[in-house]
């Protein structure tokens, strides 16, 4: 078992290396002199030399690459060109919001996707099935940001003054704030990896509110997450529903399901215990793969719902040519995506013990 995990983990390391290499290479391909980009067109030759010396741009390219990898391993992504802050601070400030939307959308899409897929498979070729599958087809074809705008219009304007009103923008209602964890628990300011984790957890409003028992803020934060999560989750929901349906239909036709029925088990037991468990593997794969779509979806929809996440920051960084910020977000999100798929890979061995033995 542990050998299986170790092997999977070792396969993950070259991918990690590749991700950092690609983003590093992209930064080197940036047109123009990095010095002029950072210091502006009026930088003198002396200033540029000092700049190159300071950031090690005169070193051989391989030395630069390994230094870059080493810095990332220490959580150091350099300094933002635009606002002269450590990029890691910006990541810790912005990433939690995106993760919250992603997790929320993932829960939404997985739960309803599996539910709709189950219903479709069991009521095959009925009106429910046809409507669900048509909806799924439309769902995968919608632009996320458009769905977000439409949801905002319907729930914030058309349903105004009804109990179904849902806030269309922002992370919390105005006037609602939550103190950082260090303040709530009277901890000292921490540095290093622990400090980063604490900052990250503090900025993840729902998590912060949950562990500090601040349910008023929690409710407010969740309320603001409803529309973004529905918008981001709809495409994966459609994909998961389709996959659940086809995977379950395939399993339901197999001999052991007939045996289970023949020995008189209740339909519910046959479907949920015998068929569904074996249909899980492709469903879990699709859920894992959809994390990439969820993360990109979150980045896109944040701009629609005015959420202070990666999306808004990323776009303004690109327009300002603040490449260290773009690079950091790309690396971090790719690593999250790969890690989730590593977890999915490992969960196979739990779902299907035969895989472990291979």
């Amino acid at each position: 078992m542990s050998q299986f995990f170790l092997r999977r983990f070792l396969l993950f390391l070259p991918v990690l290396f590749g991700i950092t290499f690609v983003t590093f290479a992209l930064a080197r391909l940036l047109p123009g002199d990095p010095c002029l980009i950072a210091l502006g067109e009026r930088a003198t030759e002396e200033q540029c030399n000092a700049f190159r010396e300071r950031f090690g741009l005169n070193d051989p390219i391989l030395v630069q690459f390994f230094r870059y990898v080493g810095d990332i391993a220490h959580g150091d992504f350099g300094e933002s060109i635009r606002n002269k802050r450590p990029v890691m601070d910006i990541v810790l400030e912005r990433l939690p919001m995106t993760i919250e939307v992603t997790i929320g959308a993932m829960i939404f899409s997985t739960f309803f996707g599996i539910l709709l897929g189950l219903i479709s498979a069991l009521r095959r070729n009925t009106a429910v099935d046809v409507v669900t599958m048509m909806g799924a087809n439309i769902g995968v074809s919608m632009p996320v940001f458009w769905l977000g705008l439409m949801l905002a219009y319907v729930f914030a304007l058309a349903l105004k003054d009804t109990p179904f009103w849902i806030p269309p923008s922002g992370r919390l209602s105005s006037g609602v704030t939550i103190p950082p964890l260090t303040e709530t628990f009277h901890w000292k300011q921490m540095g290093g990896p622990l400090g980063m984790i604490v900052t990250f957890a503090s900025n993840m409003v729902t998590f912060n509110a949950l562990i500090t028992g601040n349910f008023k803020v929690l409710r407010d934060a969740l309320w603001h997450l409803v529309l973004p999560c529905i918008a981001v989750g709809t495409i994966p929901l459609s994909i998961i529903a389709r996959m659940t349906r086809s995977s379950l239909l395939e399993v339901l036709g197999l001999d052991y399901v007939r045996t289970a029925r023949a020995k008189g088990l209740r339909e519910r037991v046959v479907v949920l215990k015998h068929a569904f468990r074996n249909a899980m593997l492709p469903i879990v794969t699709v859920v894992g793969l959809s994390v990439g779509g969820l993360l990109s979806g979150a980045v896109l929809t944040e701009t629609v719902f005015a959420l202070p996440g990666v999306g808004t920051q990323l776009v303004s960084a690109i327009l300002a040519r603040d490449y260290p910020v773009v690079q950091a977000f790309t690396v971090v999100i790719a690593i999250i995506f790969v890690l989730v798929n590593l977890a999915v890979d490992m969960s196979y061995s739990y779902l299907d013990p035969r895989i472990r033995l291979q």
Binding site: L26, L30, N137, I138, P143, V299
Partner: protein
Amino acid sequence: MSTSTVPLKLEPVATVVSRTPFQNALRRFTRHRSAQVGMAILGFLILVAIFAPVLAPYDPIKPIREAKRRSPPCVHVLGCASDKPQYVFGIDSNQRDLLSRIIYGSRLSLEIGVSTVSFAIIIGVILGAVSGYVGGWTDNIIMRFMDVLLAFPSLLLAIAIVAVLGPGLINALIAIAFVSIPVYARLMRASVLQVKDQDFVSASRALGSSPIGILVSHVLPNALTPLIVQATLGIASAILDAAALSFLGLGAPPPTPEWGLMLGEERNSVFNAPYLVFIPGIAIMLTVLAFNLLGDGLRDALDPRQVNVK
């Protein structure tokens, strides 16, 4: 015992029609429900794109001086006063006729989808073929690089590439094409590996065919089916990704009549002029839906396991 003779009636036996695999696939495809819907939508879009200059009532880029900003749709048949000028989808925030922009946008969307996917297929097929045919280290290096590209969420990698190249429609298209190469490379490599060691390929090689000749006459036909299906679905996602980049302001620059850009420009009008946001979104959705349905239909039609035609 009397035996009654029953006149023997011969029912005409159903005539066996022999069809080629291609005819079979075509038959399955044209009878496939989603393929029919997809074809219908796509046919409509192609017609709109071709006849855009004839169909569009106004210039898609020039503002209409006398029109009021964000004025709602006005269709005479639907009760709009006949002395007012007719704007079927309304006027956008820059005094342009939305209908004309949507019509011209169909050209751009189809071009974007087809051009990015063609580019990605050409590069992907070459890389996959070389990788599969040559094998060894070349294969390892190419495929590991493809794996790394697949490790990024595709839209995000496209955004990062646009960050390097600079915003703009062509750069956005290059970025989208680049991130979709790995899928085609993998497909092609798998097909090459499948047929590489088969007898007919060895025979062809023994007869003196060059690797490129073998590739074109033996490998490509075998790889065509998955490539066509993937390409159709790829066009759908390329259109969505291009719209997303333009929406963020990283793709087509204003005043290009690009649907994603139109959504991005009008996003703040959603509460007071929702039609300006609603209609471009529907246009994107229909186009993407058409390619998705077509892809599903093609997959079912070209699947050799489905030999029986109902």
